[in-house]
Point group: C2
Chain length 647, copies 2
Amino acid sequence: MKLLKQNVIPLKNVKIDDGFWNRYQRLVKEEILPYQYLAINDQVPDVEPSHAIKNFKIAAGLEEGEYYGYVFQDTDVYKWIEAVAYTLVHNRDEELEKKADEIIDLIEKAQQKDGYLVTYFIIKEPDKRFTNLLDCHELYSLGHMIEGAVAYYEATGKDKFLKVACRFADLVDKVIGPEEGKLHGYCGHPEIELALVKLYRVTKNEKYLNLCKYMIDERGKEPHFFDIELEKRNHISHWGGRQDKVDKYYNQSHKPVREQDVAVGHAVRAGYLYTGMADLACETGDVTLLEAAKRLWDNVTTKQMYITGGIGSMAGGEAFSFDYHLPNDTVYAETCAAISLAFFAQRMLKMENDSKYADVLERTLYNGIISGMQLDGKHFFYVNPLEVWEKQNLHYATYHHRHVRTKRPGWFGCACCPPNLARLIASLGEYIYTQSEDTIYVNLYIGNNMKTNILGKDVEIKFSTNYPWGGESAIEVSKGDYKLALRIPEWCENYNILKNGKKADYKLQNGYAVLDGGFCDGDKIEISFDMPVTLVEANPQVREDAGKYAITRGPIVYCLESADNGENLWAIRVDENTKFTHYYDENFLGGCVVIKGEAVRVKEWTENKLYRKAKREEEPFTLTAIPYAFWSNREDTREMKVFITGR
Amino acid sequence: MKLLKQNVIPLKNVKIDDGFWNRYQRLVKEEILPYQYLAINDQVPDVEPSHAIKNFKIAAGLEEGEYYGYVFQDTDVYKWIEAVAYTLVHNRDEELEKKADEIIDLIEKAQQKDGYLVTYFIIKEPDKRFTNLLDCHELYSLGHMIEGAVAYYEATGKDKFLKVACRFADLVDKVIGPEEGKLHGYCGHPEIELALVKLYRVTKNEKYLNLCKYMIDERGKEPHFFDIELEKRNHISHWGGRQDKVDKYYNQSHKPVREQDVAVGHAVRAGYLYTGMADLACETGDVTLLEAAKRLWDNVTTKQMYITGGIGSMAGGEAFSFDYHLPNDTVYAETCAAISLAFFAQRMLKMENDSKYADVLERTLYNGIISGMQLDGKHFFYVNPLEVWEKQNLHYATYHHRHVRTKRPGWFGCACCPPNLARLIASLGEYIYTQSEDTIYVNLYIGNNMKTNILGKDVEIKFSTNYPWGGESAIEVSKGDYKLALRIPEWCENYNILKNGKKADYKLQNGYAVLDGGFCDGDKIEISFDMPVTLVEANPQVREDAGKYAITRGPIVYCLESADNGENLWAIRVDENTKFTHYYDENFLGGCVVIKGEAVRVKEWTENKLYRKAKREEEPFTLTAIPYAFWSNREDTREMKVFITGR
């Protein structure tokens, strides 16, 4: 197996200017970041306080008080800084930067002499540091600290936070490792792995890469670290009470990572772990690790992924369940899990020029990720169902739907998803391109201006598109012999590529149309994808979707909502002969393409009964489908449905 | 509203001799009763002891020891006696009767001087009698005692047990009632109501009818008895710990019974309560109560009943959920709840000559009730799912399917369903006929010999049938001017009635073909129902069944099992054009009609992916459907499905 080692073109070189994403990036800057700043500072009225900044102040000895919040509460602050950093790259903002600097000063003050910095343990259980890697998220916290510190350093050039992160990482390196007396351990919640690779890249210090490698190699080995740790803790769990054993599937330590081929357990943990594995493989050239990552990728995306790009089908453990088990109503599909899949995809693109990774990236980005956020940028879903019957969700006896909400709440006690969305959207520029020695790969169709150096020359690309509502993109390139590889989306059956208005020459390679060099300044490449409304069926092994169809157009998965179609969406039926039309409505849901379909509806019965001899009484019905990601943006959320009854 | 007051023709006058039911009645006598006798005597190896008889011995002072079992453990003994009694009616068996007599002697010895008899309180909490009617089942226990005692008296003429029951009922009458100083209460688990009507009928003592009426009238009134009781108990629950409030929906005391129109809460409780309401209405002529019973009947059977006649869709609370919410996989549909629906139907038939009651009785009897029992008579389901994917049920993360088993276990700790099945099957003769002043109504098509007195004359009927596998019945009648009303099943579109080989004259009334008197001895009525294989659709409001079909033939609901059709039953599709054939196979599952269908199967994909543009690739597939009630009688129970994907 060949392993490429390509770069993503970094954020500072890619400035997004896009009809679809500008709004989201503006929401991050104007809504999410200010709101989150207030939240971590306990300044949001009528909301349970976060206490995150307060914990740092107490740990720094600047205030008195008790610790409050989750054991990983610090990470809310780190993720805020990370999102701020990405935002600052193209939008320097002195006031925002000043706020971040002040918080970083505070963080530094809270750091202990030996480098330790998790406020929970500093304040509450100083003698319990590193005694419960299984549940206490210390390394997870360090991971987010590193990600924030690296991003802030890259955005501003300021290294104070980076040094804080290095000091804590150095301490962890002294505590964890193969040597006798060290813990032969790793974190119950993967995250540190991918962060250490980032730290290595920016510091060039191999110690961090080796620490990452140690944690990944050690995971799942026997004798099992979490068993040993549990024994040492006398089987006392973090929450008090006796813990008999460790659920190793839950945290993906059920076997060594290179032996894993089926995604199991908590989906966010899994996504972060696989991303870290891919990062490490890319840096070290370790093909065995790449192979494991590829197997896990294939399992996730060909056996356990919703059509929206959501992953983790079960509320129990917020977890993967098993192949082809994708319930639409009791689903979990956490926003953060979809985000972790985007991370994973981006890392795989660096090692393999295969459009399948970008196809999944696009799928989850336009559907299962942004469905996590209301169009106002102020309300967020953890759980992203593909089917909702509000009556069922609200009924007292139907307890297995209770985790599924029909309306996005304002913020959460465990506020992982909103800041995760913020940092992904703010760094979206890094997901558009990958670059090999001689080729620029366009993975996502998002309007942007990009600069890079390829084959020794500075190159600039101006990319404009009406994606995802239309399939037309225009790319103005600058002079050079580099190749330009344009991803042909999996969903696209017909497309057309022009160079300066004439049919372009290209070769198809692994899902990309590769245009072969020789560009002049101002050359204009146009690519247009036919974007018809398309009915999609699920693999027949997905029992939940048997006999049903999803409506899609381009990368967008559509849904029916009761707000447009009235009650009982289940009675609406479509098939391959259903005629669909679509139009862009700039005044609807912030502007989107709406789909109409000449479907049928099963007639309401006149009989007051439950069962009768089948007689297929249908009547014409014009259905209205809206982008799935935009559901629950109106008052009426009684019903929503992605997979529609077939006929 | 007119209220009839008809009789069922009692068990002693109806001797079943039927190709289908003889086997079940034999299983009751030869398997269930002997097994249950061993069980209550703790003589089954490798099974948790029942301790039921032992509790009586301890309460009687004959043995030392601690109480063990549920608070209602006594009822296992009562239900055994009741089933024994029904069995003895047509099968006197000295040995069996001797065992019952010995147990009755023991029960009498355990009775306290004041008549009290619940062994839990006698042994364990003598000072807590009648302090927790909400949860402690004391009146429920008395109810089953009465049912057993009445049945045993009617079967054998022996009144010792009946006297025991009267003494306990007399005590309860002293404790509960409208007078000051008495409890203005009723039982958290209805059952006593229907039992007191039985006791009234056999003793003619109106006290028992009045007590029943008091309990039914009082239920759900404010100030609420269970609130007052909880207050008196200082909010201490039976299981220790504080109980804040009472779930009044759970036990149908959320409002006065005459104001109830939607079935809620624990389905068995509901079924027993509605049966008791109907019993009381029938005895007292209380039309307001009949109206409430009719509303609840309509709600249950037209909004909340599975096609199998199962009721109670939710595991949480073993309860009704809401109209048209009938999930096939997370279903509860407890065997006992279906049995309670049969009770309810039988009582309604006494007040209204409407075939709809018998239609539901037949539906639940041939499907959702007997599905509770394996063909060996030794294994039993509590929960009767309409769809099973074993992988999902067994997977650790899919906790909301855990209550659904794919194989019937041997017996239960809480052994309500097997003895309930036993007493229903043993008393099935009482469900066949109702009789008005001048008409004999045939409600069920079960072979039997019946004697009754009508219009002052003794009459005899010999009824033979090949039901449910065929639709042909022959009825030999004896001389008289009575009318004979033959139910035309709801499922039947074409039928033919002959009298002595010639087309008979009849009038259709409320779903019955009424033959108008003037019978001579030996007259032969033949009725034959066309019994084609029929695809059934559910009301479109039942979202779970949208786009799906059930296969039925006559009263029998069919299912697909993986044992016959291989894995992934979801990929099998039928529609109104599917050709079905059927045949009787005497060597298959104890003899039954098997259905074959020229259906299609969605082709397995060659692509290793989850979603693709819909292209409906199907291949011919001959499906095999078996009677739903007979599912899980073979090794392979990986999948089962009643509602099949449509096309």
